[in-house]
């Protein structure tokens, strides 16, 4: 929660927010299904294998990619590893404490992970170097710089843009079981682009891309990740409220539509970054 406002002001604002929403509007002037301004800046961390900074309204997130060798799991000897972590840096909010991630932060990382993994954006078998012995591990580390609601989407867009611009080290096999880093970097091959859309249930209405103020009063949250205008790859309901089936159907329609529009923005920012 923002720390600099008095409780009375907060309370009056919530009243106002609910009133506006019942009229189909929001206090920041947006329509119910409208997202905030979005900026995506890939390449902000030059020393990472890939990176992107995302600003969604006042929410700011950086995702950094590191690609290093690792050992595959016993039951998937021919697959590389995808590891997604997140941290709400203590600079990001007065209530963000340093320390091991709590359930909210773990959920954030896992929902981003699910979107990337289930979209098959990255083919993990592409990351195998020596089956059963050596694979590439793709680390997607997400640092939240400022919190103003909808971390799920901001983190997801940052992760996806960072992956789309990522390069990985090229290894060659010298002799059986021994590999050598060629020192070259080749682009990480990616396929579909997963785009998440997060919605909040407030006063029985669905609003897209909630702010922190809206999250404070929402009853439930629903995130849907799409890969094309007709494909859904991940979903996550959160918070102690419930949706009707109708609301879920509206949410899915919205996510498919919004997904197309965000996907274009991501592609454009990536193309711009690659030209530089």
């Amino acid at each position: 929660m923002a720390s600099k406002k008095s409780l009375v002001v907060e309370y009056l604002k919530y009243e106002q927010m609910l009133k506006e929403i019942s009229k189909g509007k929001r206090i920041d002037g947006r329509k119910l299904l409208e997202t905030r301004s979005l900026s995506i800046e890939p390449g902000v961390i030059e020393k990472a294998n890939g990176s992107a900074k995302v600003t969604l309204g006042n929410t700011e997130v950086i995702a950094g990619i590191k690609i290093q060798t690792g050992v595959p799991f016993d039951d998937t000897p021919d697959k590389g590893l995808l590891i997604v972590t997140s941290e709400i840096l203590p600079i990001a909010a007065s209530w963000a404490e340093p320390g091991p991630p709590n359930a909210e932060v773990i959920e954030l990382a896992r929902v981003v992970d699910r979107g990337v993994r289930e979209s098959k954006m990255i083919e993990l078998t592409d990351l195998c170097i020596v089956e059963g012995k050596k694979v590439l591990a793709v680390f997607v580390d997400i640092s939240v710089l400022n919190v103003d609601g909808n971390l799920f989407d901001a983190a997801s867009y940052a992760a996806v843009a960072a992956l789309l611009t990522a390069k990985m080290p090229k290894y060659k096999i010298i002799k059986e079981g021994e590999i050598e880093d060629t020192g070259k970097q080749i682009p990480l091959v990616t396929k579909l682009i997963p785009v998440s859309t997060t919605m909040a249930l407030i006063n029985d209405a669905i609003v897209v891309d909630p702010t922190l103020d809206e999250e404070t009063v929402m009853e439930a949250r629903f995130t849907i990740t799409t890969t094309t205008k007709n494909s859904i790859c991940a979903g996550q309901k959160g918070f102690p409220g419930g949706f009707s089936l109708k609301q879920i159907e509206l949410a899915v329609d919205t996510a498919l539509k919004n997904g197309e529009s965000i996907r274009k923005k991501i592609k454009k920012s990536v193309e711009l970054a690659k030209k530089k």
Binding site: I106, R117, I232, K237, F239
Partner: protein, 238 residues
């Protein structure tokens, strides 16, 4: 090419696409607990227990107008194919959170201000769908503890295997299949309180799976009612 369906659309264990696995439920299984339940959902074996309402520790988590709900979903080390490391996994932390959020809307939290209600879900054996089995058992345990509730929470997944929408995937179907949609509903309030999704659904398939999962949840709800009746009104079925 994985083949989870035969030519007659029967699944590896002989089930039809819209058929649940065999389910057993028993209410009141842990002597020390305020409420408890045991469920077998196919090969899933799940025990849930409720302690409370009781004092809140640490104090600063106390709410003056309502109870707080603390929920842990936990897998015993021997419950999984490979041994599960006893340290809590990120997966367990996430599922604990969503189960808690699926149960809370059914509980009259304001009837128990300044207290904590503890719900523990123990997966003794898992075989695909343990979170749905878990939330179902937990809801029974809450009812058994005499906690005031608006509704039960009833869980069941749908999914997609070999390109077809199917009810209640087991572990092999979950691993080898195309998509999974775990869900839980409040049957009388008609609310979806748990919903996750992973895999690949078209828009149409998603809607189909959503409706199939709801049907499954309603069947589970019937069984929950029977299990409670069995304990409290003694109409045990042989």
């Amino acid at each position: 090419m994985s083949k989870l369906l035969n030519s007659k659309n029967r699944r590896l264990d002989g089930r039809k696409l819209d058929e649940l696995r065999p389910i057993k439920m028993k209410v009141g299984v842990i002597d020390n607990a305020n409420g408890s339940a045991y469920i077998e959902f196919g090969r899933n074996k799940v025990m849930a227990a409720v302690y409370g309402p009781k004092d809140v520790h640490p104090k600063h988590m106390m709410k003056t107008e309502s109870a707080i709900l603390k929920c842990r979903y936990h897998m015993t080390p021997f419950s999984t194919g490979r041994r599960k490391n006893p340290a809590p996994s990120r997966r367990e932390t996430e599922i604990s959170k969503i189960i808690s959020e699926a149960l809370e809307p059914a509980i009259v939290m304001t009837d128990y201000p300044r207290t904590a209600i503890h719900v523990y879900v123990e997966i003794l054996q898992s075989d695909g769908g343990s979170r749905c089995a878990g939330v179902t058992a937990a809801s029974l345990a809450l009812a058994d503890a005499g906690i005031n509730m608006r509704d039960l929470t009833s869980g069941c997944a749908a999914g997609k295997i070999d390109g077809k929408v199917a009810l209640d995937l087991d572990e092999v179907e979950d691993m080898e299949g195309d998509a999974d949609l775990p869900m839980a509903i409040l049957p009388n309030l008609e609310k979806v309180t748990l919903l996750q999704l992973d895999g690949d659904f078209s828009h149409k398939e998603f809607i189909e799976a959503l409706k199939l999962a709801k049907k499954g949840c309603l069947k589970v709800y019937e069984m929950q009612r029977n299990a409670l009746n069995d304990k409290y009104f003694g109409n045990e079925k042989a």
